[in-house]
Symmetry: C2
Subunit: 197 residues, 2 copies
DNA sequence: TCCATTTGTCAACAGCCGTTGACTTTCTAA
DNA sequence: TTAGAAAGTCAACGGCTGTTGACAAATGGA
């Protein structure tokens, strides 16, 4: 191990390219077939590499999944949030995350496996706690932030499930504008609207 | 095969009990660990039976899953629906389905596996098309029924995901009343409220 | 050029899976 | 009581899985 090049991003050595190829193939297959459904042999074949190399570069399938399941929602900075348009802001960002050209399949990876893989579930709860919750907390009474963020997440995860994983035809058919105009106000209400008990 | 007793519910023969035990164990394990996560050997052990018996009674794992994944939401009869309270009606029924003492784990079975098992996904789309959609169609313009039912389902599936499968703490902590009062109006709006484009 | 490190190939391992068939035990009807 | 069907047991199969170690090729600095 050459520890000197550890922090120097100068070296795009051959191994780095292979490593990236494996990770890209893994992200694609994990997103499409879930943790159990995507075998190491599948990933290797998709990256035109030997299965043993996958283990060499990432120590195990679990570690490969952990590396592949990194999610950064890049939600707006807390200071820049307008509480009057938080609902629309969230649903627009949601569409970028799931359909935007620059976004990877990070959320699909987590959501696809979260129902049958405890690590993925924990990671998803983590995304909620560290990325979604703070945004809601910035516009609502902190005492309510958890409940409000939970309701927001239930709507957004449900929409993602129906549109991208389950592919429920009427939900797939919705245009971006329809989604924004129908779901935006709901998120607005969950985040800062009237609430109960 | 004794075809004469086929339609006579008189005979609780030994085999019928075993068959029921296997099915119950299967429903429990499929609901908890998903299709891939629940092996036939697990089901057999849980039913205190030999794995070969599972195959004898149900011809294959796929067929066992198909028998276990039967869902009847028992939504209100179409004629009996009040369009002014459809939102509250739906969310109350939702809580009964998922937490009521008489309800089985049917929906959990489907939802747990729908992200990585195409049969479960298709079955879930079927429940939407044949059980949820007609109810919404009974209270809304039939031309909009699909879209409206889709939005309703996105909220309900998302809530189920967060509360029962992902177990997001703030969503688990919600009381029945909180859920009814927060989500009910949303479903009401999706089902019969103002809509766009 | 030469050698050491890196990168890649190949075959095999142990384990779990769904499924099968041969066998024994238990029950039931005549 | 006895023959035959039903119910249950057991060991094994082929296949796929993650993972490993021994070996070969390629690479790059001296």
């Amino acid at each position: 191990m050459n520890f000197m090049t550890e922090n120097q991003p100068k070296k795009p050595s051959k191994s780095d390219r292979t490593r990236a190829q494996i990770l890209e193939a893994a992200r694609l297959l994990f997103a499409e077939h879930g943790y159990d459904g995507a075998s190491i042999r599948d990933v290797a074949a998709h990256a035109s590499i030997d299965p043993a190399m996958v283990i060499r570069y990432f120590r195990s399938k679990d570690e490969l999944f952990a590396r592949a399941a990194v999610v950064d929602l890049q939600l707006p900075a807390l200071r820049a949030i307008d509480r009057n348009t938080i609902g629309e802001t969230l649903i627009r960002r949601f569409l970028e995350i799931w359909e935007g050209p620059a976004s990877g399949p990070g959320m699909a990876i987590l959501l696809r496996s979260a129902t049958s893989n405890e690590f993925a579930a924990e990671k998803l709860r983590d995304v909620f706690g560290h990325q979604v919750r703070p945004v809601v907390a910035a516009v609502a009474d902190p005492a309510d932030a958890g409940r409000r963020a939970g309701l927001v997440s239930s709507q957004l995860l449900g929409l993602a499930m129906c549109r991208y994983l389950l592919r429920l035809p009427p939900v797939v058919a919705l245009s971006h504008d329809e989604i924004i105009q129908n779901v935006g106000p709901i998120l607005q209400r969950y985040a800062v609207g009237e609430n109960v008990s």
